[in-house]
Symmetry: C2
Subunit: 228 residues, 2 copies
């Protein structure tokens, strides 16, 4: 469901070029649960954004959900993301003027679902992450961990084929982290949801079946997780 | 340096009142290094914002740096913050249109330091957190952990008496976390910097000398950290 070959991503800041990713090959099959770790600045978010088609490689090829993306227009990429992908951003990216429920409904609005159906699915997703009582709070009225859980609910509400989660438990206490990891594992095992998560937490990483480590924009190891 | 007595903080969202903090007493002496833990939504950020004078209690009294704040104007509170406090926010709150160096200089601009002095101190602070090479990147051109480290450098650059850090290592890998904790411990021991940090990470919490736990807006335990 994910094929990156020879993928490089560079940025220019003034005279300086930053090679955030260098010559990365990555294959993820349907139903896998992959964790990505690595030091701050090693390219994890850059990699996740490329896999999620939010960004284009500087060079190399990419195939997502069976589709070669190199010549797709921005609009076609947006459709692909909406149909197949769910995203949890490192900085959440909730709409500040919408309450939690409306934020969770957004992927369903894009798909044209009727309001009643959207409310039903969004409420169920908020309940799943323990936030039914915060449905009408706006992001500024939510704690950091509550905002993160709303972002997770939004990523899952449309039942995507592939979820890309950047530090999905970064703002969560241990109990909330366990709750989110239980949700991820259940969806992976029962519904074959493919998961690629970036995390700094070894315990969170070990919920996956495969652990990839980045260093300075390169993949330096790619191993199965032994106990699961 | 911090005295909260009977402090309560409530929010109204429509018909519902959320009691984020209930009847909290808290005393922190100069030179202490305090960690605050608790579940998501238990009131940690609310407590930190009150200690940092970014918010006012709904009821109860507060004394910071020897000054009773209950009747201070917003301007007077802003001056008090700038003179005595350094803040690391859970969501960093960097100025998006300024590069890392200019962001770190901001507390010194407020104090009227000349440009050359500000640059010198800000560069030293960025070096301390390992980001000299990112001085001219804007927040959007920085990784999550790099943004967090810029926020930490900004909090420390003015040599405050008291630092309030909300999840200061939340976006950091273990190596960067150790670096930040080493900085905090050194400033605490060598310069008597008073530190109040919120964290979900037990290892980070145990770098402090005292551990306070919140649950549903109340202090439920307040114990020394035994090994240090
Ligand atoms: N402006 C607001 N209006 C209404 N409720 C609020 C507001 N700000 C915070 N709350 C609520 O107050 C409670 C405490 O929030 P706070 O941000 O202090 O929690 P926290 O302990 O920092 O949580 P986390 O670990 O998730 O960051 C939460 O349940 C939150 O929903
Ligand atoms: N728009 C940009 N312009 C210039 N450099 C960038 C840009 N975005 C990211 N970078 C740089 O690319 C490198 C990789 O960034 P990335 O966000 O992928 O790191 P990361 O592994 O997610 O780090 P963290 O764990 O801190 O979130 C960083 O050194 C960062 O400074
Ligand atoms: Mg990142
Ligand atoms: Mg918080």
């Amino acid at each position: 469901v994910v094929r990156l070959a020879g993928v490089t991503r560079s940025y220019r800041t003034g005279q300086v070029r930053v090679d955030a990713l260098r010559d990365v090959d990555l294959s993820v099959e349907s139903g896998e649960f992959v964790s990505i770790m690595g030091p701050s600045g090693s390219g994890k978010s850059t990699l996740l954004n490329l896999v999620g088609c939010l960004d284009r490689p500087t060079s190399g090829s990419r195939e997502i959900a069976g589709q070669l993306t190199d010549r797709m227009s921005d609009g076609a990429l947006a459709d692909l993301r909406n149909r197949f992908l769910g995203f949890v951003f490192q900085d959440f990216r909730l709409m500040p003027d919408l309450d939690a429920l409306a934020n969770v409904e957004l992927p369903l609005v894009y798909r044209g679902l009727p309001a009643r159906e959207r409310h039903r699915l969004a409420r169920a997703a908020l309940e799943e992450v323990g936030l039914a009582a915060r449905a009408h709070h706006r992001p500024a009225q939510l704690s950091g961990g509550e905002q993160q859980r709303v972002a997770i609910a939004r990523a899952l509400v449309g039942q995507p084929a592939l979820i890309l989660a950047d530090e999905p438990t970064g703002a969560l206490d241990s109990q909330s982290s366990r709750m989110i990891m239980a949700i991820f594992q259940r969806l992976n095992r029962e519904r074959g949801l493919t998961i690629v998560q970036v995390t700094h937490d070894e315990r969170v990483a070990r919920h996956g079946g495969r652990l990839i480590r980045l260093l300075d924009g390169r993949v330096v190891s790619d191993e199965p997780v032994v106990e699961r």
